[in-house]
Amino acid sequence: MSNDLDFEGWTCPMPLRDTPQVVMGHGGGGAMSAELVENLFLPAFAAASPGELGDSAVLPRPAGRLAFSTDSYVVKPMFFPGGCIGDLAVNGTVNDLAMSGAVPLYLSTGFIVAEGTEMADLGRIATAMGKAAEAAGVQLVTGDTKVVDHGSGDGVYVNTAGIGVVPDGVHIGPTRARPGDVVLVSGDIGVHGVAVMSVREGLEFGTGVRSDSAPLHGLVADLLASGADVHVLRDPTRGGLSASLCEIASASGVGIEVVERDVPVPAEVKDACGLLGLDPWQVANEGKLVAIVPAEHADVALAALRAHPFGLGAVRIGTVVEDHPRMVVARTGLGGTRVIDLPIGEQLPRIC
């Protein structure tokens, strides 16, 4: 991006320099709000934004079926190894669209900012969003900012909604898994969650793990172009691989059998989860997908995934079965079996 702002040194144009923290007035809809848009958001979004400031974005109607998705981002801390809440908010919604096979086109951006938030932090987040949108080839076409009282929020929350177009002939959905299908995953799991936890207050631990936050629509496009009849796609974010598999088994009314030792968990993720008493299969991912394809298409699908930079570590991890409908079962390394469950809420670290 040609007009990168130096938010580390904060050389933003006047008059934001006079208010190094966000104050209530920045969300008031008056001159201060306008300055924030003018001096922070527009330069940060840069090439990814048409820069028009009407009440709504007016967009050409694309041909084909629309995919529409929304997601809110409240990750804490806002900055973590490998990314921040800004690029996460873009990639997350891009990926939600991509999981229906859609080509993402437009995103909206909604910010809820707690007063007192460092203006430089907001700038870094907005810049990360602009860069992520540019990299993903999507436009940030409309936006909104509200400021809430100190104590009512915590730093910056971001909502993005996205619109994409589903190519003709593509029918991907959570109910389409069939017995005999195979389960693929596009690479190492548990990476994003461990990266965030490694810098969470009160929990800091040294690790080389960086978030895998990435837009996956290119990977999906390559997978579809391979000719594989993709039945289901899912990005295993909150709840991790376990939640995605349980949701697919439940929605399709099938059983899923996973071979534990085939699931790619990097050593550093395994170590961190071992120390914290967490299950890597339940830890969030932000740049991985689970694909369910007919067995006869497994090889061509894997080859397509592995040929893309975001799918280099793609492997087969399991099979869709008729037995135990709506239940996911793992075959353990020792040869036993265990049921994989939907996590209840947040994972709770064990006492000892």
Partner: protein, 366 residues
């Protein structure tokens, strides 16, 4: 990670299993004491691979599960006070008290925080001099030294806004209580490895002698557990009943003398009620009199809380190894991890939760 991957090796596990099958000539009932071992056994499906008739009875060694309801209610009463920052290990937050849990208190504005190290709570007390910081000090001998250290440090720092809600329990008296129960079926123990890494192994030969049971100090990874089971069965088959250590890489016979000195200084042995089991004499620790200033029960005057358990919950029988979790009528029906009636369904180390999480396949298809 060193000591994780090596001790999960499937080929070595297969060899150990073959040796277990080779030495076993008849049925045996073994109890693994610690909840961490229960979790590992069920997670890896180890019990499914043992010879027919070798039964693992899941012991009372999950600290979350045996913490009495009264103590949970005291914690809730303290945590809801506006002047308190209540700190706890994560898996205590969902343990049901009489009518709510710590998550509920948190959602209603209570300042409840998960900490990973008890000393983080002391640091919070330093940083928040206008708040009372309370740490929920539960667990076996394993967690006790770090909890004792909080009080030791709080005194050294002159903190008047830190206190400990103590509900520590001790393993050897519980093993005695199990052996003295008239319905006891346990023929041998896998002793809790990490408890022994603190306390050493000297407490166990008298128990092995008195009750005529083999006791094998055992670790937590699959190979550790299989080796513990193998040594135990060899003793049973040979008619021996001795203490053996199958976890020597973590457990010296003397344990950890520095930790023991800290425990000796800060705590005093007391009678404790175990949730689902009842009162066991001399089975816990309370703060020593000289540290009474740091006792949250006294500071917040919550000693008079009395409670009643759900009449449906049979966790006491589960904790004593009298029934398997799924033999309770409420298992998976009224009682699930999402709506637990008893603490054995809450913690991932609780036998009921482990069965629910990993064993529904067999239980629903049998």
């Amino acid at each position: 990670m060193k000591y994780l991957d090596e001790f999960s090796d499937p080929d070595l596990a297969k060899r150990l299993l073959d040796r277990i099958h080779a030495v076993t000539t008849r049925p045996w009932a073994l109890m693994e004491v610690c909840g961490g071992q229960t979790h590992s056994i069920i997670r890896h499906g180890i019990d499914q691979l043992l010879p027919d008739g070798v039964e693992m009875i899941h012991g009372p060694g999950c600290p979350v599960c045996v913490t009495p309801l009264e103590t949970i209610d005291r914690a809730l009463a303290i945590a809801e006070r506006p002047d308190v920052i209540f700190c706890s290990f994560g898996d205590m937050l969902r343990v049901p008290g009489s009518d709510r849990d710590l998550f509920t208190i948190k959602s209603r504005g209570g300042d409840v925080r998960v900490v990973y190290s008890p000393l983080d709570a002391v640091q919070l007390a330093v940083e928040n001099p206008d708040k009372q910081v309370v740490f929920f000090g539960i667990g076996f001998e394993t967690t006790a030294p770090a909890n004792a250290m909080t009080v030791h440090q709080a005194r050294r720092l002159g903190l008047t806004n830190f206190s400990l809600l103590v509900s520590h329990v001790l393993v050897p008296p519980a093993m005695s209580a199990i052996m003295e129960s008239p319905t006891c079926r346990v023929q041998a123990f896998l002793a809790a490895g990490h408890v022994c890494s603190v306390m050493g192994t000297e407490e166990y030969p008298p128990l092995a002698e008195k009750y005529g049971v083999p006791i094998v100090v055992t670790g937590f990874e699959p190979l550790d557990i299989l080796e513990g089971i193998r040594k135990t069965i060899v003793q049973l088959e040979e008619g021996r009943h001795e203490l053996e250590n199958a976890y020597e890489r973590a457990v010296p016979a003397a344990g950890n003398p520095a930790a023991q000195a800290m425990l000796e200084d800060v705590f005093t042995v007391t009678d404790r009620t175990w949730r689902g089991i009842g009162r066991i004499p001399g089975s816990g620790w309370r703060l020593a009199d000289k540290y009474a200033d740091f006792d949250a029960e006294l500071r917040f005057q919550v000693t008079d809380i009395v409670t009643e358990e759900s009449p449906l919950c049979r966790s006491g029988e589960v904790l004593q190894g009298l029934i398997k979790p799924h033999e309770c009528a409420a298992f998976g029906k009224e009682c699930t991890p999402r709506n637990p009636l008893g603490a054995t369904m809450v913690s991932s180390e609780g036998a009921c939760a482990a069965y629910y999480a990993y064993r529904r396949l067999e239980l629903t298809t049998r």
